[in-house]
Symmetry: C3
Subunit: 151 residues, 3 copies
Amino acid sequence: MTTLETAPRAGAPESPTTTSKLSIVMFSGTADKFIPLGVLAQAAAAMGSEVNIFVTGFALHGFTKEHHDLPFPTEFAAMAPALAQGMEAHHVPSWDTMLRQAKELGAKVYACSMMSEVMGLTRDDFGDLVDDVVGAATFVQLAEHGETLFI
Amino acid sequence: MTTLETAPRAGAPESPTTTSKLSIVMFSGTADKFIPLGVLAQAAAAMGSEVNIFVTGFALHGFTKEHHDLPFPTEFAAMAPALAQGMEAHHVPSWDTMLRQAKELGAKVYACSMMSEVMGLTRDDFGDLVDDVVGAATFVQLAEHGETLFI
Amino acid sequence: MTTLETAPRAGAPESPTTTSKLSIVMFSGTADKFIPLGVLAQAAAAMGSEVNIFVTGFALHGFTKEHHDLPFPTEFAAMAPALAQGMEAHHVPSWDTMLRQAKELGAKVYACSMMSEVMGLTRDDFGDLVDDVVGAATFVQLAEHGETLFI
């Protein structure tokens, strides 16, 4: 069994008059939340949706060149080893592998300019997953008339 | 005073050309987050919206037959007893009662196939709240052209 | 450099047939999550979007007249001082200042009637940021056919 079903053919959207668009505000900085980021971005991009991701807050640490250990949520810390084992046993790709697949299909990743400044991060501090550093107003405009998730 | 106002009549949506649709990705596994899941699903279903819930991550523990004690968020642990008392005093239904009401009105609950596998859970491990086990791509397609929340 | 780019002129929406609408369910009660609430509400309102905020759960403590110290998430507690310094150094407005700007542009803030009751809060306990106390069904109806975030 593969981890994701075969996605419907891109270019054959449900409605002929509207293309679908998924926007994700990625704010949470705990390791667990990066899995749904990768899965949902990859699934939506594979379906032919426009995908825009706005990284802000603690989540910016997941996108810097300098490796940061993303913390596990306190309440579920005891489950972390079993979860990591399960991911490996079932060959679940890492979140950044899934995000790269999404990006190959057109997904875009933007770092929040305001929080980058606040955290002392510049464009050069981010790895190649980040396409650009933009303000919230730009992202809100990109996200209009689509579905938007706050993770 | 009832806990929810009288919902508008189902079948009389705001716009004649589009039915509304609420999709919820239920990822968080702390006990507090199950309250808005129940409330929002019930409210949307009572208004005649299509409601689809995709359960993944730690939230899967809330839907297994084997009872799991859902942890309370660390930061608010001191408030848990007062909150539980307030819920009881005001006769707030439990989250699963509200979700059952939503399901009677047509809401559907899907468990994430990938995370179920990772956590060693099969279809038989889930209680009757779960309608099916599906992949993220299926859910993303169901959620298209509606509002989607990530809890 | 300003913290937010110049927002596009209000009244010039992307599509002539649909005005955009951003709805936010504000549930999380940790201090960090109030920053994206302020930023996204302000950015969307400045673009001419209708903005509706539904405050519930622990987030209600951020809106009472009696000042509550909002806790910082346990996992990132060590970063709190550096973040506060960065916010000050870059003259980032506080979340409530940004929310006031959004409200001057038409954004509305509603407290959840059910959770207010559960937490023993009445209309008079809330500060002037709160426009009204309403039920979830009312909010779900307001949010229909727009984008909705759960923070």
